[in-house]
Every structure is written in structure tokens, then in C-alpha cells.
Amino acid sequence: MTWLHTHRLSLTALMFCVVAVAGVHLWLDVMPIADRQKETITVVDDGTAELAGQEVTLEDARWDEYPAPDRARVVSVHMRGSGGPESTSCGRVTLSEVQGSRTWLDADDVIDVPYEAGQSYCTEESEPYDITSVFLVPDDVEGPFFLDIAGDDHTITRFLVEP
């Protein structure tokens, strides 16, 4: 009788234990991280994207359209939303360096943007409307930037912005 045959019961139990530990590790430790990182980025190449139930068109981006604090500059990004019955609000809008790792959020709480400039992100509107997102960046930043707009189901629509 071989050693394997003698210990077949304990070896079988050990094999089940190994499979169970691996399964629990995948389920509790690996899958949550994999799900969290599952983000689809769609790069817009013609300036217009379908998101939040409407068409959003990047019109232009400007430096220093609005006053900034010392050692900082303002990047203002102008877009046009088509609105319509299906339109909803989009998610978070961020500006990131193409060559770098810094990311900024809309800074309309710091920068005084006039009401006529429109919404600060795409929203629910029945008619076409203007969108102006403003970002406060340090004065060592040069661009270009990625403008990322979050949509549903971990999707991100990305515009290339060159003020």
C-alpha cells in the first residue's frame, strides 16, 4: 500500500481546504478591487459626445478668463449641452494633466463665475444650454489636459482640452 493510498482521506480534505481558501480570497479580496477598477474611458475625437441622455459638445477652453489667486491660474472650459427630454445630470467633472498626475475638480466655489456663463456641468434641461467648468490650477501648469466627465455604470467620457 503506497503512502498516497494510506493518506488519501487527509490529502483529499487538504485539497478541499486549499480550494476553499483560494475561493474565499478571490471572493473577498480580489473581486472587490477588480470591480472597483473596472472603468471604461471613451475618448472623444470629434468634440461631441453622447452622455447623460444628451449631446455635449466641447467648444473651447481659455486661460485666465476669470481672476485667480496669487500663483494660480484659471482654466475655463466651455461646452454646449443639447438638453432634451432624455437629458439627466452627468457625474463628476475633472481636469487632469496629460503629462502629469495632478487632477482638479470644478472650482466655482472659489472663482466668481457669472450666472450668464451657464451651468457648471451637464444637467437636465429641455433646451440647448451653455456649460462652463472652471478649474483653479497652479501657475506652473501648462496643459494640455484631459477633461473627464463621469457617466453611468463606471463610464468616463474624455475630451482633450488645449487652452
Binding site: P69, R71, A72, R92, T103, W104, L105, D112, L136
Partner: protein
Amino acid sequence: MKKTLPWLTGVALVLGAGIVAAVTPAPEAQDGPFLIHGAAGQPIVARDLIVQVGEARFSDRITVDDDDWRADGNWLIVNLSAAAPETEVDAALRLVELVVDGREFIASEQPSTSLVGTGLRVGTDTEGMVAFELPDDLSAGDAEIRLSTAYSTPNLDDVIVVPLELDGLPRGHSVEIAEPSIEGAP
């Protein structure tokens, strides 16, 4: 030899287990925070936070602008300047803690203009104040301020630690907790 081998093996296993137990780091070392030590008056950089601790003083009362709100007590007020190094997403000072003789005091959320919870900017400093409500008899000793973007002391992430000597700090009757601001804002 056949009889002694199992004994020797057993002793070796017990010794091996003892050595493994002895060299295994304590639980705090396995999942505790990474303490980034610095000094007041100089910027201290952590993974997701840059902070400079400024002036500190005691006050018997704190107030906020544009409001009738006030609170009497033994308050320690600390000026801070903070920024985010990489991203403004989820960047805010959430845990601001004063540790004195093992006692931990969280910065008060009562003053609506406290810097606690304010969104931070990348590349632009936000200046503000935090206030700790301390027991009446606590106005001296060696303290340290701990700062993090997490709501509670994080596991395996940076916490900035700045020593603060409470002895000799000035005491005023009333201090207004100024709203967080950006230096040189138009």
C-alpha cells in the same frame, strides 16, 4: 535513531513556532498608520495631504463670522494651511486630532467655518483654523497634532504628526474662527 527522530522533529517544530511568534510584528505594526513627523511652520507632505501648522493659542470663547453662534470653554485654536498633492477628488482634512498625555481630542465640528472637511486644492494652499475643546485644567504639556484625510486613524496610510508645546501659548478672551480661504484670492 528511529525513536529519537520524532522527538527531535517535534522539538525543532516547537522552536521554529516560537521563533516565528517572536519575530511576527505586533498587530499595530501590521496595519497601523505610517506616521509622518514634521514641525510647525514648515510644510509636511504625506501621500494625499500637504499641511503646514501655524500659530496656536488658547481662547475662552470662539465665534464665527455672520452668525450669532458662540461657544465658551477652554479652546485651543490652531491655524493650518493645507493642500492636496495629486488629486482634488476626496481631498479634505477629515481627521484632526490633538493628543496630550495619551488623551485624544478631535477638532470640534461645532464652528461651521472650521477647516475640517473643507475640500482642498492641488497646487493652491487653503488656509483655515481648527478648534479643540479641552478640559478646563488642560493648558500645558507636550501635545501633538495628527492630521489625515481619513475620517478615523487610517490603516496602512499616512498620518501627519506635528509636536505642539502647550506651555506658554497665549490666551485670548475670544477668537473668531475665520472661514477657510485661499491666499491672494480675488
